[in-house]
């Protein structure tokens, strides 16, 4: 979230799209009702199903699964065509005035630079035009035909209300009603928040859906304001934290990235990431990358990381490509992976195309499970009748299952969606012999290290030199680990403006990332978490809920990254002169000497407004990017593509170009393309979803939740039910080109029939919570049906839009 849960109460309009907070995040959703009751806010919900969020809404519009870019692109067209944008904000805080290269173009849904054989773009022609000093050329009037404003006007002019109706199935009148409600927030004193979740991420064009939403918010001037922002409602209690800490194939902590194999020297690696400003006076804060990186290497390799050995740069593995989970299971399926360790994760249930996942695990030599619960993955080799029809005697995988503790049995911090790191305390001992994850990881590590110390082996250096300063090497304490990622001074850190002034003495915790250095004098395991544990102690454990400004900014409750800042880009909550757009919701303002207010300013504290330092300090431009010259693999602007499995045979936006049917830059493995279903055999659009009584695949192990929702079902609308002769409670068989599930049908009014491109489209809703382990009734893994393809940028699987057939069983 750019903002945080409590802040939702400050909104005038709330758009929930690609999520269902009332059921999936109920205690966070209460801030929507708070906004409705106390701020007269209007709630707009756009969803294929009439969810409980929709039931609470002031206006609901239906949409076909997987068509959100068409809908949001239509909103962009409406805002531009009806002059409903926040002009001053757009001009000063976005790249609308930047001029793009003459060679840029987009034709029939394909951007320039496309290589069809590789399914990849070369983005060199998406760049800005640069002046002789290397700065981007801008046209303040925004009239230049190649400036971003004119490019997006042309690009989205195709997204008319009629086209939205054709693609999305949303009646034109309903679409226009949503546009009108949203457009009221183009006034500087009104603000809208967007709340989204997996309904936007789990698509082959998910990243671009989110970007389209962000573009709408930028045009309305709603980013950086209290009650505004782009608010991702993350699915689990600490996937925000684990992402922040870089536990992904290509990441390092704090959104630093692993080197590619072509970056053989540290200078090449750093130069690409320490971005030079693209406009005069901009902060381009990633220029500090070397400080964060060297401090990180010092945290992990201590004295073994020296200026002479490029801070142990060779210790980091170098990438030739991404090894995300889809790539990993593809390799496993091909027999190229021997060992796999799953910590608190259940891939048999969570990943697409269950048959492929179980087949892949069956080819492993060894599998290690670390979990508090008996998951499906840990027993993938066991026969559970129709739910898991395998032959154990043919599966040669060795499996080790290790019991771990749960939240109640450990100390530590979790990072919520609002970026708050909240400390929690142990309340009981774990059952049996269960051990905490840090203890399990430490045991595995110290034993592997001992083997390398004794017998040598392949490149032991990064293992034997890894810092391990913990009082009990077999069980590092959460306090020690938190202090390590927050960072400390290894030598005295002095003020660059006054070298006689010591900011942090050797051995002390640093106060924040501003004190990190690139000369090896500081260590910090995760720069964005720097300041979470200072000399004053554990900031994450703070429990003062005072809200002195009355707008929900509890700065002394827990600790938020970065720098305890609660709302990102909050400089944009004030106009270019430093005066808040809305004095009632003041976040920061220029006092005449400095930036101050109810939040930690997201700006150099002494940057005078007349210096024109842009509020988007992490970008080289200093402003937000409506058009992205680099960073997205599938285009500088979002374009509507059909899901890989669609009930339509062509993409109505570009009907004559087969290349632009589904995301042309999404990676598809050999064999998976052939498994995509076609509308003749699988005519119905399907989506998976969650119920309020259950949490993913965990609560089927919990008695009360299993009682509340004991049995698997699928949800269909009345018209489809009548056409198929299915009554409420009838047993049905749902098939995709990858498998089948058998369960009961729940016939509701919540899923309406819509008309797209002149064709009636029926949609099928598939709750995900069942499996073959647990105390609830057994059910089929919903992901038996889902396709093995991910978003082009993130490789997040397309769980939210695929096709099925349904028959009475």
């Amino acid at each position: 979230m750019t903002n945080h849960w409590t802040d939702i109460k400050n909104a005038d309009v709330v758009l929930i799209m690609g999520g269902n907070a009332a059921e999936a995040h109920p205690c966070g959703f209460k801030w929507v009702t708070e906004a409705k009751h106390h701020n007269k806010a209007k709630l707009v919900v756009v969803d294929p199903r009439f969810t409980r969020s929709a039931a609470m809404s002031d206006y609901y519009a239906p949409i076909r699964v997987g068509t959100d870019i068409a809908f949001l692109g239509g909103i962009i067209n409406y805002l531009l065509a009806n002059d409903k944008i926040q002009h001053e904000y757009v001009k000063a805080y976005t790249n609308a005035s930047f001029v793009v290269n003459a060679s840029y173009k987009c034709e029939d849904g394909i951007f320039c630079g496309y290589d069809e054989a590789k399914r990849k773009y070369d983005n060199k022609d998406w760049a800005y035009e640069l002046d002789k000093d290397g700065f981007a050329v801008v046209d303040e009037t925004m009239q230049h035909e190649r400036c971003v404003m004119q490019i997006i006007k042309r690009h989205y002019s195709r997204y008319t209300p009629e086209m939205v109706e054709t693609i999305c199935g949303t009646p034109k009148a309903a679409f226009l009603k949503v546009c009108e409600m949203i457009a009221t927030t183009s006034r500087p004193d009104r603000v809208m928040t967007i709340m989204y979740a997996l309904g936007w991420t789990q698509h082959s064009q998910g990243s671009q859906m989110i970007r389209t939403g962000a573009m709408v918010q930028l045009l309305l001037g709603n980013i950086g304001l209290a009650g505004g922002g782009m608010n991702a409602l993350r699915g689990h209690s600490n996937i925000q934290g684990l992402t922040d800490l870089g536990l992904l194939s290509n990441l390092l902590p704090g959104y630093m990235t692993l080197p590619g194999q072509s970056e053989q020297k540290i200078e090449d690696y750093l130069a690409k990431r320490a971005l030079k400003p693209l406009r005069p006076n901009q902060m381009s804060y990633w220029q500090n990358y070397p400080k964060f990186f060297v401090s990180f290497q010092k945290a992990w390799w201590g004295k073994a990381a020296t200026a002479e050995n490029q801070w142990a740069y060779d210790y980091l593995p170098k990438l030739d490509k991404g090894y995300d989970v889809l790539q990993a299971f593809e390799m496993m399926h091909q027999g190229k992976i021997n060992g796999y360790l799953c910590q608190g994760f259940n891939p048999v249930a969570s990943f697409p195309n269950k048959a492929k996942i179980v087949g892949a695990l069956s080819k492993l030599k060894f599998l290690v499970i670390i979990d508090p619960l008996a998951t499906e993955t840990s027993e993938f080799w066991q026969n559970f009748g129709p739910y898991n029809d395998v032959k154990p005697e043919e599966i040669q995988t060795e499996v080790l299952r290790l019991p771990s503790t749960c939240f109640a049995e450990e100390d530590g911090s979790l990072t919520n969606s609002g970026r708050w790191l909240q400390w929690h305390w142990k309340g009981a001992e774990p059952p049996g012999e269960a051990k905490a994850d840090p203890e399990i990881m430490a045991e595995i590590f110290t034993r592997v290290r001992a083997l390398y110390q004794k017998d040598q082996g392949a490149f032991p250096d990064p293992i034997v030199n890894l810092t391990w300063p913990y009082r009990n090497p077999k069980f590092p304490s959460p306090e020690e680990l938190a202090m390590e990622f927050s960072g400390k001074a290894l030598a005295d850190v002095t003020d660059p403006k006054d070298p006689t002034k010591v900011l942090a003495k050797a051995g002390e915790q640093v106060a924040g990332f501003a004190q990190l250095r690139d000369d090896g004098s500081t260590s910090c395991g995760c720069w964005i978490y720097s300041g979470s544990w200072t000399q004053a102690g554990n900031q994450m454990a703070r429990r003062d809920n005072a809200d002195p400004f009355g707008i929900g900014q509890t700065l002394n409750w827990a600790w938020a990254w970065p720098a305890n800042r609660r709302i990102l880009y909050n400089r944009a909550s004030a106009d270019p002169a430093g005066k808040p757009w809305n004095a009632k919701r003041k976040l920061v303002a220029w006092t005449g000497e400095k930036w101050a207010g109810s939040d930690i300013p997201d700006m150099r504290p002494d940057a005078k407004p007349e210096e024109g330092v842009g509020p988007f300090i992490m970008t080289a431009e200093g402003v937000a990017k409506l058009f992205v010259p680099s960073g997205m693999v599938d285009g500088p602007l979002p374009e509507h593509y059909e899901p890989f499995e669609s009930p339509l045979a062509t993409n109505p936006l570009n009907p004559k170009n087969a290349k632009a049917f589904a995301n042309p830059a999404a990676r598809v493995f050999k064999g998976d393309m052939e498994q995509f279903g076609k509308p003749d055999k699988f005519p119905y659009a399907a989506t998976t979803y969650r119920l309020t009584e259950h949490f993913h695949y965990w609560t089927k192990h919990v008695h009360d939740n299993a009682v509340a929702q004991p049995q698997q079902f699928v949800e269909i609308g009345e018209e489809l039910a009548a056409a198929k002769g299915i009554r409420n409670g009838d047993k049905v068989r749902v098939t995709s080109n990858r498998g089948k599930i058998e369960t009961v049908a729940v016939v509701t009014k919540r899923i309406r029939t819509i008309t797209c491109d002149g064709k009636k489209v029926f949609q099928v809703g598939i709750p995900i919570h069942w499996g073959f382990k647990g105390v609830a009734q057994r059910g089929y893994i919903a992901n038996t049906l889902t396709p093995f393809v991910g978003d082009a940028n993130t490789q997040t699987p397309e769980f939210k839009a695929f096709t099925v057939n349904i028959e009475k069983a």
Partner: protein, 195 residues
Amino acid sequence: MDMNRRQFFKVCSAGIGGSSIAALGFSVKPALAEARNFKLARTTETRNTCPYCSVGCGIIMYSLGDKSKNVKAEIIHIEGDPDHPVNRGTLCPKGAGLMGFIHSENRLKHPEYRAPGSKEWKRISWDEAFGKIAKLMKDDRDKNFVAKTDDGLTVNRWLTTGFLAASASSNESGYITHKVVRSMGMLVFDNQARV
């Protein structure tokens, strides 16, 4: 009057036996006959965070036992933390069942091993489990570690073993997990955020 929750419970339970209620015009006798000590008054309160979705609701866990040595604490009740600025004491249908997660009959209790082709688990000791895992990992790493590519680039990567990290483990668990996994050169590494 400034009073935290614990003090409030104490005053309530202690006050019944005193005369303050009588002073308000109640008869003490029926009150004494009705009152039982509130069960939670004798428990230990521990602050925690709901491990399900990303709202991060504050919870209070009530356990029997005072955490002194040789006392094994047992959590008997969980409720929303009224001081928490987001959930303000509430819990959703998922969070309201947290007790059942802690005490689920499907909690794993000891390390187990499934041999190739076997239909069953065999209980093993932690020492045996860790010993096996360390050896399996080192053997595979030594055999398949790629120090250099064919064209001479230094890459120091290990691609034949992968790791999938959790979604509800603490930042501290995540940090030490990353440190261990990456120091070995693993790239096949993701967490739940990927899906």
